[in-house]
Structure formats: C-alpha cells, structure tokens
Subunit: 147 residues, 2 copies
C-alpha cells in the first residue's frame, strides 16, 4: 500500500493567511492542527494547542491561577490575540520538523518517518504538489485493516 | 462558561488494557490519542503517533530508508509489536504532564493549563470522577462562538 492511496485531503493555510480565519478552520473541523505552506510548499503544522496558547497572556501561562482574576471574556481574548495577525505570527519559534513523504512511499516508510519525528501526521508530496496528509490514526486504521 | 459544559466523552483505556484493542480504538475513531487511567485516575495520554512508533523497529526509526528493505508486511508488524502487550508497554518513557482541570474551571483557566503544558487536550475531573475531555480545537470552537 502506497502513501498516495492512504493520503486524505486536509485543510491548508499559508504563512500569510489570516490568524482568525485559521482559528475558525481548526474550530469548525475540530482539527488538532493545520498544514501551513510557504510559497506552495508545506513548511510546518500549526497545532490547535498553539492557537490556544496565543489566547492566554504570558503571565497567566506562568501561573494559571491568575486566570481567575483575568477580567476579560474569552471573546475579548480572541479579538485581542488574533485580530489583524497572520498565521506566521502564531507559529511557535521551535517548530518541530515536518514529516514529509512521497506518494510512492510504502506504509512502513510513512510509519518510519512519523516514528522518527514523533509526528502525529505526515504530509504526502507528489513532486512539488501537496497530495494530502496521513494522520497517525489513519495509518493505524490502514495497518489494522486486512487487505 | 465552565469546563463541565465544554467537556465531551472520550475513549478511555487503562494501563492494563490490551495494546491491540487500544490501537483498534484509535483507528476506529480516528483519534489522535487515548486517555489512560491508572486505578480510575487519568494518568496520561497514549498518542496515536506513539503506537505507530511501536510498529517500527528501532533500526528503521534511525534510518527510515531501511523500511524499503524490511521484508515484513504491516499486518506482521502489527502482530509482532502489539500482540500480548498491554497499554503500559506502549507508553513513552518521557510522558508529558497531563493537563487536568476541574468541572468548575472557567474556559480561560482551561486554556491557561493547556497553554502552560502545550497540551492538545485537558482531562476534566469532577472530584475523583473523569467528567470528560476538552480538546484544544473544541476549546477554540467554544471561544469563537458568540454567547
């Protein structure tokens, strides 16, 4: 079984995409993350947990007990943290390496790349074109299905 | 908005659960991870990527190119790696701290705990009882919905 057969469509944003639109995409599809492209090439994943991180002021992250005394609503936090920003501004500084596989790679090769990078998803490339994404659970489903 | 209102049901396994059954649960529901309990208390998350890791021999993780020469099918790898094992045996040694919140915590408190631990989900406790789970994308959905 080749990566091409396992890959699925997955929402993609660019580094220049609107931050609020990206958050809405994560929220609407209840996704753990979005694939981010840079000049057409996937460069990283924006995890939903990173967007949550942006909503929380640094002093509250350091001491979550202070969240009780934050006199702002979550809607205010969303507006303050995301409005007028790009996806670029949300990306963590220490971005983990993206797992990239080829459409011709076998399921074991995909598993090997995911395993090495401890990545919950791999991006499948057909030359320069993004062919889709394989999540770890999707890979498990294929691995566990008799063929 | 309190954590109790945001929490959702989520599959749970114990440390003693069968590893293959846990993999099937991840595959069937296409989940990024499972909550693992130890004597009734949630202790950690088993990520789907960790199960994928278990399927790949260490020498192939070190050099994914060797996956090409692995003369075993994925079904063999699943049987070899998971049969007769418990969830305990699959858990990574360096387990990240689990984000645990209380049913009475506000959405900002939940976000703060998730943000501090860079966790994609938080476990919601009602005293000693697991009341549910809040994923980062679920939190974003609630945060972005006008109330």
């Amino acid at each position: 079984m080749r990566a091409e057969k396992i890959a699925e469509e997955y929402p993609v944003v660019t580094r220049d995409s609107d931050a609020l639109a990206a958050a809405r995409l994560l929220a609407e599809h209840l996704l753990p993350g979005l694939v981010v492209t840079d000049r057409g090439r996937p460069c990283c994943v924006l995890p939903a947990s990173q967007v949550v991180r942006i909503l929380v002021p640094a002093y509250v992250q350091d001491d979550p007990a202070l969240a009780r005394v934050l006199d702002e609503s979550m809607a205010d936090r969303v507006a303050d943290s995301l409005s007028g920003k790009t996806v670029e501004a949300l990306l963590p500084r220490d971005m983990p390496e993206l797992a990239v596989v080829d459409v011709d790679d076998t399921i074991i090769e995909v598993a090997a790349v995911m395993a090495r990078l401890r990545c919950p998803l791999a991006v499948v490339m057909d030359g320069d074109r993004l062919a889709g994404v394989i999540t770890a659970s999707r890979l498990l489903r294929v691995a566990l299905t008799p063929h």
